[in-house]
Symmetry: D2
Subunit: 370 residues, 4 copies
């Protein structure tokens, strides 16, 4: 058995931070050691500092922990630091993020800590892996280069992807592995309000309504997909972004609490394209390093394929695999491309905090956490 | 001034029928003369027979009218008959429809009545025009052929399109007129619950949820578009369906009361493709016969283009043009095709009852109602 | 015909301010002359300064008006000033309010303007009438005293009540007029999110949820009722609050956009208590000065009584009387008190902006606006 | 350890039946042995017969069980039979219920089975206990009389209460035990849609809406409370209904999926009335036979009292005690009575299926199941 890791959580009072606390409080391999939030929260107990919005109660071990500011000095004893901060989130959490991001470029790297970040800010950085744990764990191998570049002995920075990207690239990676490159990807999302944090989306904006725009989301989906589904050069010092795949995303907010639904149409380079049944089989049989290395949070099936004509549905399927599985349904032929299907991802579990947790489990299994 | 027409409404107690009654009660050119519904409703006053679900009260003139069964004999004095029946609607309205559809093939044609039908059943028929009033009113010219074929002197049967198709083909027709044929159309819809009638969608199915499937809807959108955007042969005796346009539709139900939102991506045959600004201008300047002939219900603008990044929204835009305009927003370049945009159509006004009313106004202006 | 009055609106960009603009833009007796909002909005056109959230579009006359700060100097030409500010509203609108309220105590009274305020701050003031236009318009008579006290020639300050109080006191006043004093009033409300302004209630707080608390609301309902249903002393210089009536209120927020529903149980002093039918008749026949003086916005019926067992409902009844009627249903005997019933009030029309408009109409009819 | 009991579930495909299956599939003391539903479902596997609407997946052991009709012969081997049928549920489940209820009066009693029924039909019967397991388990003692009356050796019929009644009587019983009789109880409920079964409440009736009426619910709450909080005669052959307590209930449906919220005001006979703090303490310290006998499903605390001003909330508190606790908040003085508070009960766990399970656990502990 591997040793229990001490973990810190940045942005612990936000929506993603709350999910981190829930996931980690039930986790045998991690123990919550430090909580960071905005200066306004610092010095308070967690129960006082947070407006808890999860349907399960605040875990007992977190209630009375004292919240710190997001400065490295408070996280020195942590084996792993998770950042639940999201650059899109409004208000003082956002301000806190700015602080961190200014801080971490120097302070954090000097502190030599292992940071898993959910924030968008470093995803596009040439030295920072953008990893969806059940899609491209091979990108961990760039960390050698990162460490030598930044003169780190045990620290590193890994980012996870945007929640919507995360859900989509898992089945796409399965298909790319089996059938070769995709030439075209068109996706329209229907995203849950929890993705915008708290208070986030006003009830007056979303009740009896759809908001056909989420700031920055479409370009994230379009760009992140190319990095995640792309490869590394031979020395594992550079990312090779996909060059022949075109991605077009349209992102909408709908009145759903948790769970992003995504309607995807794809075209393969390969001719003839695989059949519906071949696509389903590949998805159902898809196994990743997370399963093979026996990561604690890895779901039995990375992708659950439903053959019911009206699934996946957020309310009924978001807890599949404890929120760590992607549920795919309606796999069928597309009149314009080859195949279309609908997928569902739990946006704050697999799409955010859960990816961080799974990345940390993978990193530990791979011997990256010392 | 043209004379005031007596109108009958079939399926008067359903969701679409209620909308017909609202629209017609405020209409200077029509007077409600007869109401038809299922045998269970027949013989009751309208107020007793219907479970009224509109946010405006039942119009006074309809309250005490006695509901009839949907048999031609009760509609003999009507200049126009609107059918608000929908084949998808469950329960005894559905049964009533079956009855009518059995009945009308003979009885109704013999009765020589002018019927505008919202039901899907005859849309695909080779002798029946499928007309979206602000897209393909030229298809009225097939009625000569229909009348001679069925030996009708004043009667005819015209169908309007599915609610989602209706919203989409109006901007597409504007673009096709201006820039020539479209080669590819990809659409993902987020449809309101009122489209399923009453009781329709269970609250347990749609609260905090998305249902990624609406029975038969996708194939309707894919096929109807080809008939509506297609032409007629020279004698106006046959429809020429589009042959080079591919359409792929994905239809979802979302927790919205009224108003279908549709995310559309298109590719033109023409190279280079028109720019975003050219597309916007064509949509804004689009005028149809309905405007030119001065139809009472025709909105000032068939298409309203919003340049706000987060519009259209069902709650804020569905009443545009009193529910008769299509609102388009987010016109922008598509990474995969040429242009993408999001549109909103009021599914029970322009998408159903309102199309019937506008068709009848057009038919009268064109001298088809005698 | 009385002359058209120039009106100013304070808090014009908020939820209540938007409702004022809608109501006034369609009003033959008023013309919008000046708009005030927070310093952040000042200097911008209204369309740029506001996040419009109404389902009807911004009225043309307001779109390009330039918003001012809420200082009297910008409202000097106004015959009437409406304040749509609400002290509960968060953020910089709230700050703006603080500013006004500091300002107006001196500056505004010196400016000698006629102000109708929706804010709670002066409702409890001994020299300020708290008037629900269809309940206690007789309280206007205290304005003589107010004017002499504050050395005003044409200005005055009148407040309208809290939205929930407004809905309740109208039927209670009708019953009190007919049957004498009430000894006990117990009310439980289910209030719409629009009552909290914008952004107001977070979607994460109210979707699939009820929030059983609205800050300060219960004490407002309990206290305001005693002032409104009370009288004046003989000189009309002091309010006589009810002393023998006990009121207990419980206020909840529910996932409804507009329209507060209130379940009321009452006990009369009189024995035997009136019957259900007597109560219904009194409510149906209730006419107020607003009707008798022919106020433009006064609904035909102040109280609409439904005998359907499942009404009133917010979505179906909030527009009754264009939002100016109270709809009452389920009038029946109470096992504990005498009578119970459920009422619905449109919280931003009759419950806020509409009360202001109706108060101004009454004041004009009564010769108070010079 | 007591032996594992074989259980049957009537109405297994309905909303309450689905909840029974979830609760029982995870229960160490019961094993699901037989499933009954309408003739239309009979002969199908459970996965085919049911429209599963729970957010957790169908338990593996139930998926392939073959559903039977609700006839005693199929349940002969069951130690316990739970009836999840609800007389209010529409459609063919309702028809199935009629069948059972006709059937059971003779057939079922002859079959000598132990039946725990959630249906309303026998709650008022003079020989049938109406038991809320954490309120009046003492009423089990009437079963001797029932058995001798109906010549049963091991069978019996026990009913649980209406979901709203269940939530309310638990804190009321705690207070009555501590402070003596209540003279007046006034309650207004805001009930979840799952209480109406599936399809149940139409989305068009409840989105952006409140329905101020639930058929039969108010009289159930008013009457059942008197039986549950009442006693038995000395021989345990008759129920003594409360005679001096008056109960008035108003029941509303709100857009919430699970969890009924209830606003309660009470007056004690005792003078002076207990203080807010005394009331809170009694509720917090309330322990019942279910806790004392160590029933598996009994929550640690029957009543959880929150001191946060905005709790309980359905989305955040319905899972408290795994759905078996009542959460109480806002305990405060009432201007009209003595004390008011708001409570939340999970309507399909503690309010329906969970009460059945807990009753069976109690019955086994008491030696009633042989």
């Amino acid at each position: 058995m591997s040793r229990v890791l001490k973990v810190g959580i940045l942005g612990a009072t936000g929506t993603v931070g709350q999910r981190f606390i829930l996931l980690l409080s039930q986790h045998p391999g991690f123990t919550i050691h430090a909580l960071g939030a905005s200066p306004r929260s610092a010095g308070k107990t967690y129960v006082k500092a947070t407006k808890w919005k999860m349907s399960q109660a605040i875990p007992a071990e977190a209630r009375e922990m004292v919240v710190q500011t997001c400065e490295p000095q408070y996280f020195n004893e942590c084996d792993v630091v998770f950042s639940g901060l999201d650059a899109d989130v409004a208000g003082d959490i956002g301000k806190c993020l700015c602080f961190i991001l200014r801080a971490d470029e120097m302070a954090f790297l000097k502190a030599d800590l292992a940071l898993f970040s959910n924030a968008k800010n470093y995803r596009t950085h040439a030295d920072v892996p953008l990893i969806v744990p059940m899609a491209n764990p091979s990108h961990f191998s760039l960390l050698n280069h990162q460490r030598s570049n930044y003169k780190l002995s045990k620290g590193f920075l890994v980012t996870n992807a945007n929640c919507s990207t995360t859900g989509m690239v898992i089945p796409l990676k399965a298909l790319q592995d089996a059938f070769g490159p995709l030439s075209k990807i068109m996706v329209t999302t229907m995203q849950a309000v929890s993705g915008a944090g708290y208070p986030g989306v006003s009830s007056l904006d979303i009740m009896d309504n759809v908001v056909p725009h989420i700031g920055g989301e479409e370009s994230k989906m379009e760009w992140e997909t190319l990095k995640i589904l792309g490869g590394l050069n031979q020395d594992a010092t550079e990312f090779d972004l996909l060059k022949t795949t075109k991605v077009s995303a349209t992102c909408n907010r709908v009145p759903v609490i948790d769970g992003h639904t995504e309607c995807v149409s794809i075209e393969f380079e390969r001719r003839p394209a695989p059949s519906v049944e071949e696509v389903i089989k590949v998805m159902e049989n898809y196994r990743t390093e997370a399963q093979e290395l026996g990561c604690y949070s890895a779901p039995e099936q990375a992708i659950i394929v439903s053959r019911d004509e009206d699934r996946p549905q957020p309310r009924l399927d978001r807890e599949n695999g404890k929120g760590y599985s992607v549920t795919v349904g309606r796999v069928r032929e597309c009149n314009v491309f080859d195949i279309k299907f609908t997928l569902l991802v739990h946006n704050t579990v697999l799409g955010a905090a859960g990816s961080g947790v799974l990345l940390a489990e993978l990193a530990q299994k791979k011997g990256l956490i010392v």
